[in-house]
Symmetry: C2
């Protein structure tokens, strides 16, 4: 995770400031995005108040961009770190055709859905286009 | 949810400012706490920046209190709202004896574990005692 935030591969969406946004390689839930803190910190309460403020604003902006790009019924925001204890948010727009709309994404086991390079590029571009419309 | 935040039943821990903290009635995961926004809002990006700042500080304080009271390996923070679209955080300390430590709590179906009235009171009191030690 710490290494990843320095990389700008095909899933990279944007540098948000204290965080960087990446499309999840598994797009079974369309628009599923990671927001990864650049600094290595594991818990909210290990951040400074100023970092928390910046991070929540960046999370809100990314979620708003996903809302504009995917028009979900509900947004899900999760900070877990049980396997990778480096602050990263799972930001998941839950769309109208969601196969399991009342429950967290974790309760629906599935094969990862990987997009083609072109479809990945299109999706990243769509989120970026939405993001630039949102005041920073 | 909107009604609940006006109530101070046995699960009520504290009024945090923009939010109120309640112990989850199901204590299968010890310390599982809800942090419920008092105002009816469904998404992060529908809050004002000032509300987001206050809310993230309150979330951080509650999590830090749970850390002090339960000494978890990792804290989980989830804002979902798929069933109840009113901002409420699931704040779950994941302890060393967690039965499913690498995965979100949702992947382990279980019968709710309800504490006795006395055990509930003790647990709420322990979280409150930790909370007053944390600068606001």
């Amino acid at each position: 995770m710490c290494r990843r935030v320095g990389e700008k591969g095909p899933l990279w969406i944007a540098d948000m400031g204290t965080t960087a946004a990446y499309l999840n390689e598994d797009q079974f839930f369309s628009g599923y995005t990671y927001l990864i803190l650049k600094r290595h910190v594991t818990e909210l309460y290990h951040l400074t108040a100023s970092e928390r403020l910046q991070m929540i604003e960046e999370l809100s902006r990314v979620a708003q961009a996903l809302d504009a790009a995917f028009r979900p019924v509900k947004m899900n925001y999760e900070l877990l770190g049980n396997q990778v204890p480096h602050i990263h948010w799972h930001v998941v727009p839950r769309l109208a055709d969601d196969p399991n709309p009342r429950w967290p994404v974790w309760t629906l086991p599935h094969e990862p859905h990987r997009l083609s390079a072109e479809a990945t590029r299109e999706r990243v571009t769509a989120v970026r286009a939405a993001l630039v419309q949102i005041p920073g």
